[in-house]
């Protein structure tokens, strides 16, 4: 695999993670428990959308086929998406949204901090800004997981159910293949396996503080990086793409 082909796929993976998560968070506005949470979820959503646009725009440039961020976002089908399967898991109740976010944030903080040192200046620049955002997201999701874990009996129960539901999709975040291998050797990308310990430390720390535990069942679902998704993505994409696809070639 050529470096540019690997970089293109790597950028799609980074971009799609944020696009799919941003799309999900966008559906939550006006549905949160309080106005303050509506504002907070919009902030996090905007950060992910901004990251998605940066990564996808760069991906399109690396590809050099004249596509732009919107063509990449709107004209690929399920099998072409490269996001980790965690991102497409449903919003569920507030506990599910926060459990998914905790795992994403605990992964993205070390990922982006590592990528800030990439030999690719463009990628390093995008990651440096994203790392600041991810650190803020992690503070926010940790606060809520601790609050819900240690709040009422019901919130504790719901938070544990949510952790159990989201956990089986976390290994997909770290599933590396020849794409990463090609780029890590040249100092362009971060080896996902190398950031796993920081992820585990962060997650275990917050769960201990919240009085929650990881499920004992070791089952993990992987495949997103190769376009092997859960069935949920096939319902999310038509909503994202319908208007764009119904009017080919126009400006919006």
């Amino acid at each position: 695999m050529s470096t540019s082909a690997a970089l293109f796929t790597y950028l799609l993976r980074l971009g799609d993670d944020n696009l799919v998560l941003g799309q999900q968070l966008g559906a939550l506005l006006s549905r949160m428990p309080e106005l303050e949470s509506d504002i907070a979820v919009a902030n996090v959503c905007l950060d992910h959308l901004g990251q998605a646009r940066n990564f996808l725009t760069y991906a399109a440039e690396v590809e050099g086929a004249g596509r732009d961020e919107d063509q990449l976002a709107m004209l690929r089908d399920e099998r072409g998406f490269r996001n980790a399967v965690l991102m497409e898991q449903p919003n569920g109740d507030f506990a599910h949204t926060m459990a998914r976010q905790l795992f994403v944030d605990a992964y993205q903080v070390p990922l982006y901090e590592g990528l800030s040192g990439s030999v690719d200046d463009r990628l390093a620049g995008i990651a440096e800004k994203a790392a600041k955002e991810a650190r803020y997201h992690l503070r926010h999701s940790c606060t809520w997981v601790v609050r819900l874990g240690g709040g009422t009996e019901e919130s504790h129960r719901r938070m544990q159910v949510a952790i159990d539901a989201m956990w089986p999709f976390t290994s997909d975040l770290f599933a590396a293949d020849e794409v990463e291998a090609a780029l890590v050797a040249d100092g362009l990308a971060v080896d996902p396996v190398s950031i796993r310990p920081r992820f585990d430390t962060a997650v275990n720390g917050v769960l201990a503080q919240a009085g929650l535990r990881l499920p004992e069942d070791p089952y993990q679902r992987i495949g997103g990086r190769q376009g092997l998704h859960t069935e949920l993505l096939g319902h999310l994409l038509p909503e994202l793409q319908a208007l764009y696809r119904a009017n080919p070639g126009v400006e919006w």
């Binding site: 506005l29 949160m32 109740d93 819900l148 709040g151 208007l243 919006w252």
Partner: protein, 322 residues
């Protein structure tokens, strides 16, 4: 002698209030105010806050379907601003001695209203543009006047809200311009949105002056500084040339430039239809309120958990210092 007695005692609180109003100065939360003034301000600010909060829904309806990532991000930011305005206005309202929880309950029970404009559905992407251009445009016409309203916290909130609203209005107009200059399907979408949003946007500025129950007293108290009809005329005058620039037709056969008045004449608003929506029978009244109530009820366990957790933390803090 009598005069000096009065001077020694100073003006009564009611006289002081009248003096402040007459001098065009602001009434602040600690100032004495007539009970009816307080009630009117609560009603008006609460209705405004509720409108911002309910107003998240019609536009939020298009976030997941926005036609480009740029438009999606702008729309999320806009809906977020509305939540922020709601929060800001609830805080202004709380200075009058009512809590956000009480205001929330009044909205949920249908005892306080929000702007009737948000009871119309957003049926195409162009509606997002039309809301920004027309609805925010009408809101700005109203709110610019309100920056001079007599209640200080409300007037100051309006200054900030107006800045963000004019940004929203430009975004809405830009969506309309892109559609109007786009494909035939896009132009049709834009015209259809203008057709559906024009009259509700005129009506949202409130009943005509002769029918407005609150206008006279509110003008006396400096709460309102321009009448509904004056604001409506300003809005029409500024918006008609924009529609012409877009090459879209304003759906009013009576629309004509009146050289003598120096204003646009426009047709009769269907006030029966307007009052029907205000009474709760618009296309989306039930959905909008149900959506809001559901979000609140679904979030009850989260709010309870946050309070319980805070109480436990406080208990631990006390135990540690004991």
């Amino acid at each position: 002698m009598e005069q000096s007695t009065v001077t020694a005692a100073g003006p009564t609180p009611a006289e002081r209030f009248d003096q402040l109003i007459a001098a065009g100065e602001k009434i602040e939360p600690r100032d004495w105010m007539p009970e009816a003034y307080r009630r009117t301000m609560i009603r008006q600010i609460a209705q405004h806050a509720h409108s911002e909060v309910i107003g998240q829904q019609p536009e939020g309806n298009w976030i997941t379907r926005a036609p480009s990532l740029r438009r999606k991000a702008i729309l999320v930011a806009k809906v977020q601003d509305e939540a922020g305005h709601g929060l800001y206005l609830y805080s202004a309202c709380e200075t009058l001695g009512i809590s956000r929880d009480e205001l929330n309950d009044l909205l949920h029970q249908g005892r306080q209203k929000y702007s009737s404009i948000f009871n119309y559905p957003t049926l195409s992407w162009a509606d997002v543009g039309a809301i920004g251009w027309l609805v925010d445009g009408a809101a700005i016409a109203n709110q610019v006047a309100l920056t001079r309203t007599s209640y200080g916290p409300y007037a100051r909130a309006m200054v900030r809200v107006c800045k963000e609203e004019s940004f929203h209005q430009r975004q809405g107009f830009e969506i309309m311009m892109t559609l109007a200059r786009g494909s035939e399907a896009q132009r049709e979408m834009a015209q259809d949105a203008l057709n559906r949003w024009w009259w509700p946007s005129l009506a949202m500025l409130g009943p005509p002056d002769e029918q407005s129950t609150h206008t006279e007293q509110s003008m006396q108290w400096g709460i309102k500084v321009e009448t509904n009809d004056e604001i409506r005329q300003k809005f029409v005058d500024q918006t008609v040339p924009q529609a012409q620039f877009l090459g879209l037709a304003v759906p009013d056969p009576a629309l004509a430039w009146n050289e003598e008045r120096g204003h646009w004449d426009f047709g009769e608003i269907d006030w029966d239809a307007f009052w029907e929506v205000v009474r709760g029978n618009g296309p989306c009244n039930r959905e909008r309120l149900a959506h809001k109530v559901k979000a609140w009820e679904d979030g009850a366990w989260v709010r309870e958990a946050a309070l319980a957790h805070a109480a436990k933390q406080e208990g631990r803090g006390l135990a540690a210092t004991a």
